[in-house]
């Protein structure tokens, strides 16, 4: 097969499974590119086990030249936890969407976070259940029209969107790394993912990165409106930044003497 | 299966002061059996006896099913009746409130303590332990249990229990028990007794086996026959 890799393709990506199967404009490709580059830069391709959830994230099951397991909806965190507990030398990454992470899989995430499991969870937040056709997800914005809230999400009836990183930061112990990045700032997102993986590599604690990501297909948006939603609207509710950083905490402690 | 008809048998005790004994030991070591037999023996001697179920770990083998029958001998049994409880083992094993104050009762008190990581710390659930100097904590040992089968294992186990005043050799293999098995246990438990300086209060065994052994085991410990009630208590 004569597939020529694009120049910018991370080394850990699997050429044979490209072009990938995500929709044009989908945020997953960008998050996975940041992840791929982080894996390359940290030199851990031989140690990574990548787990993906159900929903669009499952399309990444053969995305990397890394051992990979496609699990059940919401069950990627416990599968990766099980692997990590069995073989602590591996770097276990659980990849999922906001439905898999904050709805059906929230029990797994919350308890893995509370136990400070040495795994990394990367969660793409695109505000909808995308693969099933655009239903309301835990992260659907107030007023946002989706298939199961056709008149817009009414917080009175369905509650406010889940603030994942804030929740995880509150329940993890010392050593955990928690951040919210965005596909609108890939350099920053990659640095967050890299720090998350370093947290695991150094055995500090649970690491968690939410990435604001686009779903133009279900949002029914053109490029301009897609970008505006990710860059302008989502951060109004979902504040980008690091919520817990063991590396900073260490630095601060040193500075404070 | 034993019948609970009162019968005069004075062999088991000669003292007249208040008797307070807590039976502790490994899971399935025979604590409840030894405790029930002891309580019956005291009751048959005409003493006022309170038998207290403090097993908060195991919902299956407890005194509940034979409570009424035991009470007919004149003793007081502080234990739930199965129908008074809901979802045993599901909602946790709830301590019957009056058990907590059992030590303040008049007469002898025989406490059946469940196993568990905290072992004899279950005694902390009782009020008045410090005001009860006559309290004897007796560790029931079955040397045919895999985690208490050697002197070293038993020493380790007793160390975790907290204060223990006496040992009871209850070594057995269920229906397969022979005098040899009991005597082997007697040797192991007696060695533990020597090392720790804690007396062996008795060797206990099924009536059939004790008949073959006689009044003393090979180490000179008093042999007490047991009537087996607990198989009937399996929920």
């Amino acid at each position: 097969m004569s597939v020529s890799p694009q120049p910018a393709m991370p080394k850990s990506w699997r050429v044979e499974s490209k072009p990938h199967k995500f929709c044009p404009g989908c945020g997953h490709g960008l998050v996975l590119k940041c992840l791929g580059e982080a894996i390359d830069e940290l030199g851990i391709q031989d140690r990574v086990v990548f787990g993906c959830d159900i929903g669009c994230s499952l399309l990444s099951w053969d995305f990397f030249n890394c051992d990979s397991v496609q699990t059940h909806h919401g069950r990627t965190t416990p599968v990766m936890t099980g692997i990590k507990r069995a073989n602590p030398d591996l770097i276990c990454i659980a990849y999922m969407g906001d439905g898999g992470g904050y709805a059906i899989g929230v029990g797994g995430i919350v308890n893995a976070a509370a136990r400070n499991e040495k795994v990394t969870v990367i969660l793409a937040n695109n505000t909808v259940y995308a693969m099933t056709g655009g239903q309301m997800s835990p992260c659907t914005m107030p007023g946002q029209k989706v298939e199961t809230a056709p008149y817009g999400r009414d917080p009175e009836a369905t509650g406010m969107p889940t603030q994942g990183p804030e929740m995880i930061a509150a329940i993890t112990g010392d050593g955990a790394y928690v951040a919210r990045g965005t596909t609108a700032n890939l350099k920053q997102l990659k640095s967050y993912i890299k720090k998350a993986l370093q947290t695991q590599m150094e055995g500090k604690g649970f690491s968690f990165v939410e990435a604001l990501a686009a779903c133009p297909t279900n949002w029914r948006t053109n490029a301009e409106k897609t970008w505006a939603f990710v860059e302008k609207e989502m951060p109004q509710y979902y504040k980008v930044g690091e919520k817990k950083n063991p590396f900073e905490a260490k630095k601060e402690a040193q500075q404070n003497g | 299966m034993g019948k609970l008809k009162p019968q005069k048998d004075w062999r088991w005790f000669t003292i007249s002061k208040r008797i307070v004994e807590a039976y502790v030991g490994e899971y399935a070591s025979g604590k409840s059996e030894v405790a029930v037999n002891r309580a019956l023996e005291l009751a048959r001697a005409g003493r006022k006896v309170n038998l207290v179920d403090l097993d908060i770990v195991e919902p299956c083998y407890t005194l509940r099913p034979i409570k009424k029958e035991l009470e007919e001998t004149g003793m007081t049994v502080l234990a739930w009746e199965t129908r008074d409880t809901v979802g045993l083992g599901e909602a946790g094993n709830i301590i019957k409130p009056e058990c907590r104050w059992a030590l303040y009762r008049e007469g002898d008190v025989i406490l059946d303590i469940g196993y568990g990581v905290e072992g004899a710390k279950t005694l902390n659930l009782l009020e008045g332990v410090e005001e009860t100097p006559e309290l004897q904590v007796l560790a029931v040992i079955n040397a045919k249990r895999p985690m208490t089968s050697t002197v070293e294992e038993i020493l380790d186990y007793i160390k975790e229990l907290g204060p223990v005043h006496g040992l009871i050799n209850n070594t057995h293999l269920g229906d397969e028990t022979t005098p040899d098995i009991v005597q082997e246990g007697a040797r192991v438990v007696s060695e533990v007794s020597n090392i720790l300086g804690i007396p062996v209060v008795a060797t206990t065994a099924d009536q059939k086996v004790t008949k073959q052994i006689g009044p003393q085991d090979c180490m000179g410990n008093t042999v007490r026959p047991l009537v087996r009630y607990m198989p009937r208590t399996f929920w």
Partner: protein
Amino acid sequence: MSEKPITGEKRAFMTGNEVVAWAALAAGADIMYGYPITPQNEIMHYWTRQIPKYGRKFLQTEDELSAGFTTVGGVLAGLRAFTATAGPGNTLMQEPMSMAEMMRLPTVTIVQQRGGPSTATVIYSQQEVTLTTMGGNGEGLRIVYSPSNHQELFDYTIKAFNTAWKYRFPTFVLGDGYQAKMRESVTLYDPAERGIEMVPTEKYVGKPGTPGVDRDPGHYRNTYNTEEELFEVLQKHFADYEKMAPEVVEYAQEAVEDADLVIVAHGVVFRGVRDAVKELRAEGLKVGYFRPITLRPFPAEQLKAVANKAKKLLIAESAQGQLARLIKDAIYGASAEIVPMFRPGVGITTEQIVAKVKEAL
């Protein structure tokens, strides 16, 4: 750390749950993942008491979904991983075990059945037969052993790890609350000393070398794009299962040759049946028993042969016909009349069986 848990043969007085924990130790199980539920708790209690000595591991999860999925993870990492559950926990356990079926992961699950449906009672039942043999959204691609005493609980727990890793199907040991809590003697042994070789495990993830450079990456999935693709995958699984079945099927039968009536029972109920047959034969009645030891795969041919000879099959179970469904499926077309003795959630004594047989004869 690598000290063996058992050396030489050791006769011990134990509860069933402890037996399971010791069997797992003896089998070289590396890690247990579990969530508390009565009546399996002492498996965890005794596993956790023992493991520091032998360098094994334990993780208490937040529910049975995670207990099952972490077990799946442990197997993916190449360890002999197991879990234990019961009742409503077994219901949740079916989701991870269906993943294990699809991906051919050799998980081992101990089920100590309790009453159902729902929370029901905590101690005893045989009402998880359908769930354990055919649970999940699938085709029952699993192995289920039904032991009837402590020795078998020990033997079959060890065997479960070997069957699972040899054939790569999730394997269950289906006990019950009686067996879990009951006390009786058992001979503990080291499998190697009895010539039982433990089937080696294999890593699915984390093999040496860099994927894509030194070796292909392990890419594992349970999702398929087309009906044809799924059909093909399943045909391979079914073929493997059928090939395996005769090697794995186990049963016991006695006095069936000339029997007018054959009692069929499994697990702890079989204890009463065995004694009942002895008693009835002593009275000169032509009664035998057939006992499936594997409920999946089921000893279908063997039972069908019996069902074509005997006039009646008395099916005794502590459930409302769950074993009976397996039997009817297996003996379809056979001539024997089926006599049910269904006592869901309650025990069955020898006396009750004897009385029922006399009534049916």
